[in-house]
């Protein structure tokens, strides 16, 4: 459905996107996972015809994005990273405006946005600029869907949003997938990768890995130890200095520790920590998650 072929883009000296190629299947929920500066926004802006690539081509449903940009604009629903609706129009006015620009009416495709719009309908006469962050997000999504696009492109829709609202947003995306829409969404939140059919891990304008999230973890992940002790800061500094440590990172109340070499021996870790005087030690075996894998790939990328 969507194809990126050797896409590159620089801003002056800064290479934002370097020779990126990948595809998104019809009706897939595809995630671009990566931190700020990875190249996500550049890729998405190029796809929705707002930015020209330096080199390479893109296609949506067989149409060339640069040459057939008018047709592309009718097929795509876009929700940019920052709220960009008309602040001084009301909720209802914004929705009607977008419907009319695409030559349709709110009624025609209302069923598509009904679940989302119902939540902001009580505020339909409020000016968009006066909405809270979460409501703005819902309005922007409604406006992006009002013309029943085949492809929905969302640039960091959950940034700055609390954990509950993020979860609800992804539930909404699942429902939209059931309507046959192809969805391409970018996010810096690693845990959201698991909600996608496939993901591309992006860093410094390059793809680190691209596959189903579970497959990436199977392929790139490794066994690790979840470690906890009474003084977690001392635990971290001791393990950082240990010559057996391959990597150690905090993950909430636990540290994720990987050891050099092939052996996976709890006793070795335990003896080391006892020797350093740690108390209330917990050492549990576990396996990498997407965030562990991302950090490992990031470190390897720098080399």
């Amino acid at each position: 459905m969507i194809k990126f072929n050797n896409i590159s883009k620089s801003y002056g000296d800064i290479a934002a996107v370097g020779n990126i190629s990948f595809g998104v299947e019809k009706n897939e929920l595809f995630g671009l996972i990566g931190p700020d500066g990875a190249g996500k926004t550049s890729l998405l802006r190029m796809l929705v015809t707002l930015l020209l690539p330096d080199s390479g081509t893109m296609e949506i449903a067989g149409l060339d994005v640069v040459r057939d940009y008018r047709k592309i604009r009718l097929m795509v629903g876009y929700m940019p990273g920052r709220f960009s609706l008309y602040q001084d129009l009301t909720v209802e006015e914004n929705l009607q405006f977008f419907a009319s620009v695409f030559g349709t009416t709110v009624q025609e495709n209302y069923h598509l946005i009904e679940d989302i719009y119902k939540q902001i309908e009580p505020f339909k006469n409020r000016r968009a600029g006066k909405l809270s962050g979460g409501m703005k997000q819902k309005l922007a999504l409604s406006c992006a869907l009002i013309h029943k696009p085949e492809v929905l492109v969302l640039d960091e829709p959950t940034t700055g949003v609390d954990a509950v609202s993020r979860r609800e947003f992804w539930d909404m995306l699942d429902k939209l997938k059931n309507e046959g829409i192809t969805i391409l969404v970018s996010t810096p939140y690693m845990d959201e990768a698991s909600r996608c059919d496939r993901v591309a891990l992006l860093q410094n304008g390059e793809i680190l890995s691209i596959d189903k999230p579970q497959k990436i973890v199977e392929k790139e992940g490794q066994r690790l130890w979840k470690v906890k002790a009474a003084n977690i800061y001392n635990l971290l500094t001791d393990l950082e200095k240990w010559e057996q440590t391959k990597s150690v990172y905090p993950f909430g109340q636990f540290l994720h520790l990987t050891i050099k070499g092939e052996s996976f021996d709890r006793g070795v870790v335990h003896d080391f920590l006892i020797g350093k005087g740690h108390e209330s030690i917990t050492i549990e075996p576990d396996f990498s998650g997407i965030e562990d894998v991302f950090m490992d790939l990031m470190t390897r990328q720098k080399v």
Binding site: G34, S132, G134, V161, A163, V164, P188, Y249, G252, M298
Partner: protein, 248 residues
Amino acid sequence: MEQKDKAIEVKGLVKKFGNFVANDNLTFDVYKGEIFGFLGANGAGKTTAMRILCGLSMPTSGKLRVNGFDVYRQNEKIKASIGYMSQKFSLYEDLTVAENIRFYGGIYGLKRADRIKKQELLLENLEMPEIKDKLVGSLPLGWKQKLAFLVAIIHDPKIVFLDEPTGGVDPITRRQFWNLIYEASSRGITVFVTTHYMDEAEYCDRVTIMVDGRIEALDSPAGLMKTYNAENMNEVFLQLARKAKNSE
């Protein structure tokens, strides 16, 4: 606890905007040197409360002391004794690193000799002395945020307020940032931080969760996980924030 051990004291804080009650009778204390996590859903009232604590906005009613200063009568003294950093604004992009340090050093009243010494220490700390003359705008986000934090505490404030400081930052830099927070806290600086990353909530000494303008929970992460029978702070948060009526 004696008064001098408390960095922040809040009793019955109320803030109304017309009929809307943004902060509904908040009462809590923050102890010196603590890493205090201030969580809540969007619309819960966190930013409102934080602005009041920074001396940027006046409460409707209630008693507040920040660093021992009264919020109503000693507002300017509060501002001089704190540091602040947020995701949206940290440093001036079109000034160099050194120029930013000079500017903020000046605002916080550092003498030239102190400022130069602090600048050296700061750059050593980051292990990046060569970025001194680079424009902040040319630095990757993660470096900007780390730098902004160190600049926010350049005058050794008693409290530093951090408003979602790690939003959008890569996972490695996020953790390096928290290392800086731990170091500051071990030097006795009280850190008041809001975040949407629930794993970061677990790095805090104590955490409060606001829902609909009220404090629904206040305890250590371990305490909260036990009370709510949760495996991590994400589960605690989901249980509490789901009850909200204001959240959208």
